[in-house]
Symmetry: C2
Subunit: 340 residues, 2 copies
Amino acid sequence: MKRRGRYVVAFDSLPVIISAASSVGKAEGEGPLSQCFDCVNSNDGIGSSTWERAEASLVKQAVAASVKKAAVKMPDIDVAFAGDLLNQCTASTFGLRDTDIPLAGLFGACSTFALALFMCAAAVDTGAVRLALAEASSHFCSAEKQFRFPLEYGGQRTPTAQRTVTGAGAALVAPEGEGVYITHGMIGRITDYGVKDIANMGAAMAPAAARTIADFLKDTHSQPGDYDMILTGDLGSVGSDLLLEIMQEEYGVDINNVHADCGKMIFDSQVQDAHAGGSGCGCSASVVCSHIIPQMKENKLKRVLFAGTGALMSPLSALQGDSIPAVTHAVLLVAKGGGS
Amino acid sequence: MKRRGRYVVAFDSLPVIISAASSVGKAEGEGPLSQCFDCVNSNDGIGSSTWERAEASLVKQAVAASVKKAAVKMPDIDVAFAGDLLNQCTASTFGLRDTDIPLAGLFGACSTFALALFMCAAAVDTGAVRLALAEASSHFCSAEKQFRFPLEYGGQRTPTAQRTVTGAGAALVAPEGEGVYITHGMIGRITDYGVKDIANMGAAMAPAAARTIADFLKDTHSQPGDYDMILTGDLGSVGSDLLLEIMQEEYGVDINNVHADCGKMIFDSQVQDAHAGGSGCGCSASVVCSHIIPQMKENKLKRVLFAGTGALMSPLSALQGDSIPAVTHAVLLVAKGGGS
């Protein structure tokens, strides 16, 4: 691992994502990416007695699928980096409890999957870890209950609000093998433009995404055209428009032609009542694992800068009148033959 | 970084804790370690309008003190690993928001400070990070409110209950300098013996502590007598007794002579109404930073195996009838001249 510029590190040993898998809920399975996911649950309860246990079940499904794809066994995994949005990250804990994998818990809100991929690449790059697991999850019902209103209340959402994805994504990173390389990464800084509207997370996260993307381009002396895709986690339609504007106005960089956003991909907002798009740790985790990485394996995408976006508020901090701090962590995913 | 046995890694470059500092509340300042802490607040409100903001203020105080001690500047810090017990880890976020340090958020409940030290050592050991910050915090009032009862309720606690420490600890880790080495570390596995009593965290965490300590001794081919201290995070008096029993009965190892526990040190339980002792992320963070590391710098302690213990439940998982999964992460702290 070597530093490139101020914030970016290069993983010189080229860690490889040898498998990636996801499990999602009913709405996600009816969306535009329905054919991509490894496991689509027909019922968001997933055979569980509570929404929180249902989210833990998603974690189990995604991890089991990633392990099966890689043809490895649970005890082969040296360390898991995982997190979620629930208070005290219980979806990860209960989802991974029975695996006996050493667990380093992460918190990055919706940026968690990018942070987990960074940590896995760094761990494997040291040479001391042979197989690392990145995992993140969210569930519409557990999130609504915790962050917004009881489902039974039937609350109306504003046009800027996003729909939390019911989904989990899991990826296995190894020193070598067939798959997609993680060549670079960076840990983001907290960025807070003073946005206080908890029904507009996209606006709160866009400035953090812009700062990380600008830092990454600067540190690596690269241009937007050097990437097939600059993929943000879950800015949704409102946040994505703001990102393009901030990139242009504050940093003088036009990423219009290469920008995509997981939150804009996962639902058909017109039909699925998803307003500004998808959100939650499981949004980018499931889209990257089941839509982006497979395209990279087929060489349809060669260089993807994945910038995971997270809003670091709590319901309580919002009620106490605090603004919404945000963070964006990034990893550069490169297909075989995609350059260094 | 090289693997030693199944779970332990050795940090071959010998990362150094070049400074460590803490900030605590009134009760901690009246306890047996009153003379150790860098900053003792005379009022737990710490000039803040909410308990959550007060906890963020503790974070700011501890980080500022550690930076001042090391005679570095905030922008010199390449990355911070930090976490706390509040929902969505807002004490770390709001406490570090204005520092502009890249932030990798952690969740490990009360094991967070040990996990953060592990991450800092691993980061510095790669050669790509020159200065890393480990930070963790808790606050009696924000924790009571979130995990137990409103303070105004005046709830009575059971004898096995612990008192959440109002405190934050911060340590800076660098490739070289004067201080205490982090020579080895390990990430723990989730361990759950089915304990469901949320007023007895010590019992829930003791099995995880035993497993990590046993793994560490086995992987490093060492004996309890090779350490001046095997220091658990916050098992308190009940959990500590259980740890000694489990170590003896399940692993055949007697650690009686070298075991100590931060939760047993920080309060005078008889006088301070702390029942089974202190707990919370800030317990081991403040005790290690202000009591253990200074003794190691003076060579009064040479080899300390610090095993941070965490109970990974949430109030909701407990209400839903789930048991309390626990985890213990460990780092080996070695004074100059303390061997490798």
